[in-house]
Amino acid sequence: MIKAILIFNNHGKPRLSKFYEHYNEDTEQQIIRETFHLVSKRDENVCNFLEGGLLIGGLDYKLIYRHYATLYFVFCVDSSESELGILDLIQVFVETLDKCFENVCELDLIFHVDKVHHILAEMVMGGMVLETNMNEIITQVDAQNKMEKSEAGIAGAPARAVSAVKNMNLPEMPKNINIGDISIK
């Protein structure tokens, strides 16, 4: 079972956190910090698995993570999951994000946190892998968008404003992750 899915950037800023087991807010934040601490100090070419931190799970749990440009994707799983399987699930997740956002970058995750959650929900549900087929996932996401479009009459104007804002007043815009041609590790 997947216990938690965390995305944070190189500075430890959380970009997505999804817990499939209940913790209170403080513990969740602690777990994110601890995980960042464990993962960020590791070299680039060591293995992608490490024994879990103390807060989440304990002995039976492993952190399986991948590092893409500015972001860490970390899955916290128990021994009933295949390590390599989860590693590739992270890849599928990122590729899907890349398709949905066109060259996904950290900013997309910041400004569209709800979308990221929806995409993740198509893949993982209650800690279990729901769907691994990228086409299937994207079909679902497309269907959602269509529905959204048909419902949103008033969303056009804010949309332009958003893109204006996005390109205007962001002093430290991170580099694009550019996952189109992913070089892992």
Partner: protein, 1003 residues
């Protein structure tokens, strides 16, 4: 076209996020967030109704704020409102908020459940999916209660869409994990198994996850899944990759599904059906073969997916552990991976090999990789991988390679990461003991261990080396010589001083012949470390000194001088001071004979499992430790597996106490006994001599040591009195030469009060008198008792007792006091049994039979047959039954010689009605007792209590049962049926229900 067009977000949200990102400091960020929270709060509270769009926007902002680590304590209601919106996007954001933020907030759960119910019934697959996701993500008990029966129906319904089926399967799995008792197994199980044949591979994947979990709990119900899973797996591995189109991932056919299927098969033994078995073997071989083929893509994703399946197949092969051929192939494959350039594969290969090493077919094959593994330990850059290498070395160790492996681990220890040092120390200690052929090697290894990583050597490790040295006389001389040499180093670890002190104190005489290690040299060496050590170690050294006085009379004067010095006699630490005073006095007044007896060499320790192993298990969790071959023996020659379960559950410290204090044989002439009886020295004295090895646990140990000496015999005495109290409340429960304990007790409903009288039978007063009651299932409140009991006086203590639920363990009263300087420790079982909480109940015979019939389930009735101990006197029996607590009902049983009774057991949580029938058979001098209560545990417990004498063992009871059926001329069931039919139909008279309507009888 991108699936998410970038611009269609919400403007206010984007502006807010940008503001936050522009904040220069944490304070500014908090300020901005608080401003926004205030804004949203006022919007939500405002009179103006918000439209769906605004609600959605604000809820999104709250989500973002939550992600940044701030508490969100409002907005839940608005999110719940969004659930009932007809607009998909609003509904979706509502569900998102709830699955991220809501836990089991009970007020809202009802509203949420309502919305979910509507969506599940909507037949709109998108809405259904949202609802199912929400149930799975929250997974609370309330949700399980509301939907556990609904979801299986959706899952197996013929017209359910594939995507909904997928969600329903995982939703059910989640509920099964969180509240297994609420998910009913039923006719749907068979249909779930058939989902393995579904067209849609997504459905099959989800169903496989579900079945795997269910099969772990009830394997028999899902046995049929094995053949379906093998068939499915076979189709996947033999298919050309294009067949599975969408589910092909980087040229690998459905890797996730294959992994899941292989996991499912690990829930079962190898299939018995030969054709099925050969088909599975074929699949596994194909997977192994594919690993040797050139990769179809250079991408790492391709090799990852392929190897995920391969590792899972290998795990299945290891799990089956039946095909030597496959096992060896698996081992070779893993061997290749050990040298792979991908770190991930090296890591996983080491991990899998660990389990492979425990199979007898492949243990030898694994051993061939020893050089590679040792190399990994030395050169691997990643600590996770090195850790796995240590695990594997431990698992592959046997007599043939133990020296090499232990040496490598020791040398690795010098540079090992701090995080794994303690574990390596334990492993080295265990391997050294387990495979020691000569004990000199063992002693060297452990001393090296202390030298290299003294800080990580736990108590258990050095206790163990001492136990072994004491038990093996062939190694004692060598051990003394080695520790003597090791202590020469200018800086030694304190653990080494402890071992050194103990061993030289016991066996220093074995090396005293050599002038380089003469008694005085030994003593000076030890004493040179004294001032650098902590208190427990110093205490141990003092004990070593007094042993020296016995071993080497020539150094007596020197040692006495040391003991007499102010730094000892007036030490601020009370333990050290006491030892110094007592040892000094002992050395002065005792004759050589007495000294020799008191300070005799330690008797051998009883053979037991190493406490180190228990410690390691506790540290790692036993599942992760590869079990060693049963036939391998440890140093002591005893197989260590017998006690595994028992020992693993105890904390190591306790183990040692037990080992020393309880299980040690107590010969009456033993040194440890002597001081207690003859010289009236203080307790610590005995403690020092017998428990040298555990100074740090002195205080708790003390009591244990003494409870053995002083209370062994009296406890038996109290057991003798105990049964009489089943049917009476007052009397003497305990008596020995010193103390008499009387009881007077009264019970009402679930409460009881017990007056305990302690009588001092001696002509000396008892000091520091204290008591404590230990109980598992009852609430017992003790009133304080006077710490002083004058000679011949009696003091009283009141205990208030509350029965919480039905129980079987009686409370135990522990009494401690000082009598003439000796600490006495007495343990008495208090006669508080379940039947004390009986309230007798009168009822008519009609009611009785009606109840009797209602309690007819087999587990509610308990019966036993026992022999009459005395004359079968009706009045005596009656008195006993009344004392037991039931009301005797006359004229109920057609046979006037039989006894029938009824009563209610009162506990805080429930009340349990109880019916009893006792049939004497005077010819056979036997009784048959039948009890019916609404609660199985209560029936059992009451039956054990009555009679308070010995029952006939079950083996002989069977023929006796015939005796009774033969002599009994009527059947209760027939009579009650008859009465029931002839009685006027007034309905059941709630005779047992008078007590507040909570009675369980007949309910």
């Amino acid at each position: 076209m991108p699936a998410v067009s970038k611009g269609d977000g919400m403007r206010g949200l984007a502006v807010f996020i940008s503001d936050i990102r522009n904040c220069k400091s944490k304070e500014a960020e908090v300020k901005r967030i608080n401003k926004e929270l205030a804004n949203i709060r006022s919007k939500f509270k405002g009179d103006k109704a918000l439209d769906g769009y605004s609600k959605k926007k604000y809820v999104c902002k709250l989500l973002f704020i939550f992600l940044l680590g701030h508490d969100i304590d409002f907005g839940h209601m608005e999110a719940v409102n969004l659930l009932s919106s007809n607009k998909y996007t609003e509904k979706q954001i509502g569900y998102l908020f709830i699955s991220v933020l809501v836990n089991s907030n009970s007020d809202l759960i009802r509203l949420i459940n309502n919305a979910i119910k509507n969506d599940l019934a909507s037949r709109n697959p998108t809405f259904m999916n949202l609802a199912l996701h929400c149930i799975a993500n929250v997974g609370s008990r309330e949700m399980a209660e509301a939907f556990a029966s609904e979801i299986p129906r959706i899952l197996v319904a013929g017209d359910t869409m594939d995507s909904v089926k997928q969600s329903a399967a995982l939703c059910l799995l989640r509920l099964n994990r969180t509240s297994p008792d609420l998910v009913p197994m039923g006719e749907w199980t068979a249909r779930v198994v058939h989902l393995l044949n579904d067209q849609h591979l997504g459905v099959v994947t989800a169903a496989t996850s579900l079945i795997t979990t269910l099969a772990q709990k009830s394997p028999d119900d899902f046995k049929t899944s094995v053949s379906l899973a093998v068939a499915r797996l076979s189709r996947i591995v033999t298919s050309a990759s294009i067949d599975l189109q969408d589910y092909t991932y980087y040229f690998v056919a459905a890797p996730w599904l294959s992994v899941k299927l292989l996991r499912l098969l690990q829930c079962y033994p190898p299939p018995e059906d030969t054709s099925l078995r050969s088909r599975l073997t074929e699949c596994l071989e194909t997977i192994l073969n594919k690993a040797q083929e050139p990769p179809k893509s250079k991408k790492v994703q391709h090799s990852n997916a392929k190897n995920a399946v391969l590792f899972e197949a290998i795990t299945l092969i290891i799990h089956h552990d039946s095909e030597p051929n496959l096992l060896v192939r698996a081992c070779n494959q893993l061997g290749q991976f050990l040298q792979h350039r991908e770190t991930n594969l090296r890591y996983l290969a080491l991990e899998s090999m660990c389990t492979l090493a425990s199979s007898e077919f492949s243990h030898e094959a694994v051993k061939t990789h020893i050089e590679t593994v040792i190399n990994a330990l030395k050169t691997e850059r990643d600590v996770s991988v090195r850790q796995r290498a240590v695990d594997l070395l431990y698992a592959m160790c046997d007599r043939s390679n133990s020296k090499q492996i232990v040496a490598e681990m020791l040398s690795y220890l010098e540079t090992a990461d701090y995080s794994i040092r303690e574990e390596i120390v334990l492993k080295v200690a265990i391997l050294a003991e387990k495979y020691a052929v000569d004990y000199t090697w063992y002693v060297d290894t452990i001393l090296n261990l202390i030298r290299i990583a003294g800080d990580y050597v736990s108590e258990e490790v050095w206790y163990r080396v001492i136990q072994i040295v004491i038990n093996r006389d062939d190694v004692q001389g060598y051990a003394a010589k080695t520790v003597f040499e090791a202590l020469q180093a200018p800086a030694c670890h304190e653990n080494l001083v402890k071992v050194g002190g103990y061993i030289l104190g016991e066996f220093g005489n074995l090396i005293a012949g050599d002038p380089r290690s003469s008694p005085l040299v030994q003593f000076n060496l030890l004493h040179s470390k004294f001032h650098l050590c902590s208190v427990p170690t110093r205490a141990l050294l003092l004990s070593a000194y007094i042993k020296f006085i016995n071993l080497f009379p020539e150094v007596k004067g020197t040692i006495q001088d040391v003991l007499r010095s102010d730094s000892q006699l007036r030490n601020a630490d009370v333990e050290l001071q006491q030892r110094a005073v007592e040892y000094l006095r002992l050395s002065c007044i005792a004759s050589t004979d007495i000294l020799a007896t008191v300070l005799e060499e330690m008797p051998p320790f009883p053979e037991r499992e190493s406490s180190i192993l228990a410690k390691l298990k506790k540290k790692k969790g036993s599942s992760k430790l590869p079990d060693m071959d049963d036939s391998r023996k440890n140093v002591n020659g005893s197989s260590e597996h017998a006690e595994d379960a028992e020992v693993a559950s105890k904390p190591p410290q306790f183990l040692l106490e037990e080992l020393i204090s309880t299980d040690r044989p107590h010969p009456s002439s033993s040194a440890t006994m002597l001081p207690t009886r003859t010289m009236v020295p203080s307790h610590t004295f005995t403690d020092n001599l017998s428990v040298n090895s555990a100074p740090s646990s002195g205080a708790s140990l003390l009591v244990d040591v003494f409870s053995d000496f002083s209370s062994a015999a009296p406890t038996e005495g109290s057991d003798e009195h105990f049964p009489r109290f089943v049917c009476k409340n007052n009397g003497v429960i305990y008596e020995n030469q010193l103390l008499q304990i009387g009881l007077k007790s009264e019970y009402r409903q679930n409460l009881g009060r017990m007056y305990v009288f302690y009588g001092n039978k001696t002509s000396t007063k008892f000091l520091s008198f204290s008591t404590s009651v230990s109980t598992l299932q009852l609430n017992v409140q003790e009133k304080p008792v006077d710490p002083l009991i004058e000679a011949g006086a009696q003091v009283q203590q009141i205990l208030n007792i509350e029965c919480v639920s039905d129980f079987s363990d009686v409370p135990v009263l522990n009494i401690q006091f000082r009598y003439g300087g000796t600490l006495q420790n007495i343990t008495v079982k208090l006669p508080v049994m379940l039947n004390k909480f009986f309230q007798p109940t009168e009822m008519t015979s009609q009611d009785f039979f009606q109840r009797w019939k209602q309690l007819g389930a087999p587990q509610q009735e308990v019966q036993k047959i026992f022999k009459a101990k005395n004359q079968m006197d009706t009045d005596v029996t009656k008195a006993k039954l009344l004392g037991f607590g039931v009301a005797l009902l006359d004229g109920v049983d057609p046979n006037p010689t039989n006894f029938v009774g009824a009563g209610i057991i009162h506990t805080k949580t429930t009340q349990v009605g109880c019916l009893l029938r006792l049939e004497p058979n005077t010819q056979a001098q036997m009784y048959r007792l039948t009890l019916r209560t609404s609660k199985e545990s209560v029936s059992q417990r009451l039956c054990e209590l009555l009679p308070p004498t010995n029952a006939v063992p079950p083996a002989t009871a069977a023929p006796l049962a015939e005796l009774f059926t033969a002599t009994l001329i009527w059947s209760w069931d027939a009579i009650s049926l008859h009465r029931h039919m002839t009685s006027s139909k007034r309905g059941a008279i709630p005779a047992l229900k008078h007590s507040g309507g909570r009675t369980v009888v007949g309910a």
